[in-house]
Symmetry: C2
Subunit: 257 residues, 2 copies
DNA sequence: ATGGAAGTTGACGCAGCGTCAAGGTCAAGC
DNA sequence: GCTTGACCTTGACGCTGCGTCAACTTCCAT
């Protein structure tokens, strides 16, 4: 009593529809497990067989998948709990946001490539195009926080030329004063050093574009001055940088803790 | 012999750097497991401690992660096996391709929304804007394959107005002939029916924009004519659609197997 | 001493299948 | 009737980058 292969066959094996629809048998089993597509018949041996209606359903699933919908959403649409248009509208919003993020990321990558190719270092030393940045390394340090990197850039570009010059001048002054203080043998907890730390703090707060400069961030920065030779060099070597770090730490303990 | 909390502390607990860098302790452990960031010291109790150099390293990792690089790539960059610029260039290419796919997907979703909102059905019945499509339903059927959906659309838009009219006329003729043949009681394997199947095949091949029309695709389409009432209606009900399907199947067996 | 905050390792979860692994079925050729 | 090879089954791990318990241990302050 076997079913002879008749002329107008109306069902196919799993591989056959898979190929017909341009997908794989694994995917079909997955869809079944997800409750999206049941075989029209299952043989006594467990083999799955699919008919035209299944193929139709499968095509719908694949169409929606191609548009990027998740299997769960697709399930809702298929069983009519959600209109296709509504689901797609929701999905479209997600896609648009995704695109925005991608665009921003692409821009960021491009800028970082630019910076590293010119500067040779991973962390951009040369974000300030129009200036002779070899003279102004310090400001770079301030943007090492990762959010600060992105936000700080917007902040910087929002400034006028005059404001930028002021800010750079300010930073140079600050660095010089640090070096002087370190060289003069002042203690990190002296009034002099603490005043410098205070200036450093407010200068940073201004540069962070509304981003709060917290205890961890401030002291962390101090540590990095010591850890990174490119920076410590600007502060008179490890010793000088250590002095800056200590002073900043004390300031943080007193005012930010 | 405990280490007293001295003035210039140079290391922090896992939570402290995590907060300072704007991430979580779990992430730090993950990076360690991934070989990206080792604590500067591990206490006898298993506690992890990190110093300034670690913080520096962490910032680099987070910067790259923000740009979308995978941890593996980041690892290569950090240990100098890949230049940052090179890695970012590669990554940029990926991002650009990703953006392309996203754009296409967005366009497709928009069109599908349009179509379903006007047509009410998920499968777009109205892809042919300028025409009185209520008269031309058949062509829609041909684009059910999912790649065909996207590619077929580009194909269609690449045609001139004249070519479109020809194609539509052709499709209408074909449908009428099918209906006539079915009504006249012709057998599916008759010369007449097989000639219609041949026309159907070539008409499809033309419509698929270079996409091959294989055995599975062709027979599957026939099955769908029967399974979907919207289509079978156009072929004189289930009986007529069954006739078309059978004829297509025989044609496929003879010429596409 | 004790309670609460913070640390540890271990392991599951997620999205959508790809990809073995180990074994049953089926049609065909000898 | 037996072997071969193609195709089928279920089961389970893998991938990405952590989030999120769970079950304990340690540290610090009262």
């Amino acid at each position: 009593m076997k079913t002879p292969p008749e002329h107008g066959r109306r069902e196919w094996s799993i591989q056959e529809i898979a190929r017909a629809a341009g997908t794989t048998s694994r995917t079909l089993r997955h869809y079944q497990a997800a409750g999206l597509l049941q075989p029209s018949r299952v043989g006594h041996n467990g083999y799955r067989y699919y008919d035209g209606a299944c193929l139709l359903q499968l095509q719908r699933i694949l169409l929606l998948r191609d548009l990027g919908l998740g299997l769960e959403e697709i399930g809702k649409v298929l069983q009519g709990r959600t209109g296709p248009a509504a689901a797609l509208h929701t999905h479209l919003a997600v896609l648009l946001e995704e695109r925005d993020r991608l665009e921003r990321r692409i821009a960021a990558v491009r800028k970082t490539i630019d910076a590293t190719e010119r500067g040779g270092q991973l962390m951009p030393e040369e974000m300030f195009d129009g200036f002779d940045h070899t003279q102004y390394k310090e400001e770079v340090e301030q943007r090492w926080g990762r959010e600060a990197y992105a936000k700080g850039d917007r902040w910087w570009r929002s400034l006028s030329t005059r404001e930028r010059q002021d800010w750079l001048e300010h930073s140079r002054q600050l660095q010089n004063d640090w070096v002087d203080a370190a060289a003069s043998g002042t203690a990190p907890d002296s009034n002099e050093a603490q005043e410098l730390a205070r200036r450093q703090f407010h200068w940073l707060a201004g540069a962070n574009g509304g981003q709060e400069v917290g205890y961890g961030y401030f002291t962390g920065l101090g540590e990095m001055y010591v850890a990174d030779p490119r920076f410590s060099a600007n502060y008179g070597g490890e010793a000088g940088a250590g002095f800056v770090r200590d002073a900043m730490k004390i300031y943080a303990d007193r005012h930010l803790a």
